[in-house]
């Protein structure tokens, strides 16, 4: 825990660095190539066109909404998966994580057959006066579908690392389960929750396939930034590239935020894994 990277033997063979560099290039080079293609003279007009701003605004709003939905639904899921014990737990975990590896378009089709007009719940919802297809709600549902696993994975990991010893102590001090959750568990895993939420937001922001399949594409209603980019590409490559750069910038900001999260939370985690560290130090 306390070992510093700079001073220790890494054990990494030199050629690994070469392969790692190739891997990094595979990611960085296309981004650089895209940046090189940006029409800087028209950059500002391109990204501030009405349709672009509408799409960006819609993307930010829907991603924020789906992140909230991910937290509301994902926190209980992560708790149940990390702390609960019930038959089918492993199966549930696999199913919840499925959207991570599923092509988004498959998610879109699945959502269509659930919430669509002819879908499993869609018919009932339509009778109740709720129409989801072609609405902003559909966008949020599609984004939540693909982003939820990110929150669940991050938070479940944080919960497992934290363990449940603080919760046990809190219970013997007279705190009921809801109080323990509110005052102990959630504050302890806050860094994990925050990075999970940020990742979910990022995933929502980039969601394309499921939205296209399930929600459609209409300016200001369902045409999020990725859909706008896809459409602009048909006629105006410069606009598509400029908007892509905006999305990359937002994504970088979000990822930077997510990776800052764990560091901010390290003292808490270190405390939770080795609570006697202060004591151990004193023994020496």
């Amino acid at each position: 825990m306390t070992t510093r990277k700079t001073a220790t033997y890494t054990g990494i063979p030199g050629w690994i660095y070469a392969v790692a560099a190739a891997g990094a290039l595979l990611v960085v080079l296309p981004l650089a190539a895209m940046v090189a293609r940006v029409n800087w003279a028209n950059f500002i007009p391109l990204i501030t066109s009405e349709s672009s701003l509408t799409a960006l605004g819609l993307s930010l709003r829907t991603s924020a909404a789906s992140t909230v939905l991910c937290i509301v639904l994902g926190v209980p899921l992560a708790l149940v998966l990390a702390r609960g014990s019930f038959p089918g737990q492993r199966v549930l975990r696999s199913l919840v994580l499925l959207p991570l590896v599923l092509p988004p378009v498959v998610g879109g089709i699945a959502l269509l057959y659930t919430f669509g007009r002819q879908g499993l719940l869609g018919r009932t919802l339509e009778v109740a006066g709720l129409q989801i297809a072609f609405s902003t709600t559909a966008v949020v549902l599609a984004q939540t579908f693909v982003a939820l696993p990110f929150l669940v994975v991050s938070l479940e990991g944080a919960l497992r690392i934290a363990g449940s010893r603080y919760e046990s102590v809190a219970a013997t001090l007279g705190a009921g389960p809801s109080t323990v959750l509110r005052r102990i568990t959630l504050p302890l895993v806050l860094p994990g929750l925050a990075s999970g939420a940020v990742l979910s937001f990022a995933r929502s922001l980039g969601e394309f396939g499921a939205t296209l399949t399930f929600a459609g594409s209409l300016q200001g209603v369902t045409r999020t930034l990725p859909l706008e980019i896809y459409l602009q590409r048909e006629t105006d490559a410069d606009a598509a590239v400029a908007l892509s750069l905006v999305l990359v910038a937002v994504a970088i900001a979000v990822v930077a935020l997510a990776y800052r999260g764990p560091r901010a939370g390290r003292p808490v985690r270190a405390e939770s894994t080795t609570p006697a560290s202060a004591t151990g130090g004193a023994v020496q």
Partner: protein, 354 residues
């Protein structure tokens, strides 16, 4: 108004029945894996026994048969747990940690704060109230943890080796503190240290292999151990066997000894134990002739330092010990594997039935 628990956990071979009176502190001792922590977890409600029942001041904590029945959730039990590690909530200040119990019990913020300050003063940690747990030393953190447990006003305080993680300077301070706050308070304390049992507990319970092998007043258990574990705690040699007219017969070893407690002759034919201190045992290279009544051949297993003496472990898997001076050990040229004679005066051997 007493606390009683009877509980069995089938998977762990755990089956214990214990009673703690009002204001009584009981020390639970035993080898690792004997089920000491299981006992506390069952009482605190963190572990579901398969069967048994427990009552605290007339309230049922659990009453189970075959894993089903009445069950009181941990937060309704009033059994605060103080562990080896302080486990102070890292995101709360010292004051908020101590106020946690009263707040959970429904006290107002102000009342909880006052109660917390009172308990912090009680453990002489008032000046730490604004600190974060990460800014405390081990001893300070454990003092705050004591205050936090007491602030919850538990009907039964459970202490799981509270001194084990402390350094040699912090442990005596905390022991003194616990002696003060445990006085007149009902508590169960798990400890490996015979000093804790002597200082803090009225009674001691020896737990071995999931069940109680011996219990009694701390002083009596240490003076007249009836289990090998208790004899080890008291630092005494321990031989279990059958009582004879003159002493004890155990697997070819015949010990002459005295009946310390009861008047009259030894109750021959009963199972019993012989107990004698290593300091009363001398070591000879050949069988001595003369006054000592007990001499038996043994093979030296280990030599280890013991205070300013050398402890010679020999015979019976190295379970018997003799304390001799380093110069005597050098004169005898002792080394593991040697055959020697352990000699102990009959007057030093206490025999009693079990």
């Amino acid at each position: 108004m007493t606390f009683v628990v009877e509980a069995a956990v089938d998977g762990r071979g755990f089956d214990v029945s214990l009673r703690v009176g009002p204001g009584e502190t009981v020390a639970v001792m035993g080898p690792n894996g004997a089920g000491k922590s299981t006992l506390l977890n069952v009482i605190a409600g963190l572990l579901h026994p398969d069967s048994g029942k427990a009552e605290l001041d007339g309230r049922t904590l659990f009453h189970l048969t075959g894993g089903h029945g009445e069950w009181t959730a941990p937060h309704h039990r009033g059994t605060a747990l103080l562990a080896q590690e302080p486990l102070l909530f890292p995101h709360l200040s010292v004051l908020e940690n101590v106020a946690f119990g009263p707040r959970s019990a429904g006290a107002s913020k102000q009342a909880a704060r006052e109660s917390a300050l009172r308990w912090l003063a009680e453990v002489e940690a008032g000046e730490l109230q604004a600190r974060r747990p990460a800014e405390l030393s081990g001893g300070q953190a454990q003092r705050v943890a004591v205050a936090r447990a007491l602030a919850a006003d538990p009907g039964l305080l459970l202490l799981d080796e509270p001194m084990a993680a402390l350094d040699i300077h912090a442990a005596p301070l905390l022991r003194r503190l616990l002696k003060r706050v445990l006085a007149g308070r009902r508590a169960i304390i798990i400890t490996h240290d015979v000093l804790d049992a002597l200082m803090l507990a009225d009674r001691v319970v020896i737990l071995e292999n999931g069940s109680i092998s011996e219990e009694g007043l701390t002083r009596e258990v240490l003076q007249r151990p009836r289990s090998r574990f208790a004899a080890g705690l008291a630092g005494l040699n321990f031989v279990a066997g059958g009582i004879t007219e003159h002493g004890l017969e155990a697997g070819g070893l015949s010990l002459h000894g005295q009946h310390h407690d009861l008047p009259g002759p030894l109750p021959a034919g009963q199972p019993g134990v012989a107990v004698f201190p290593p300091s009363a045992v001398s070591v000879f290279l050949s069988e001595p002739h003369g006054s000592p009544r007990n001499a038996f051949p043994v093979t030296v297993a280990e030599l280890e330092p013991h205070g300013d003496q050398i402890r010679v472990r020999a015979g019976r898997g190295g379970l018997l010990g003799a304390d001799i001076t380093p110069s005597a050990a050098a004169d005898l040229g002792l080394e593991p594997g040697m055959k020697v004679y352990f000699v102990v005066k009959a007057g030093a051997v206490a025999i009693y039935p079990t």
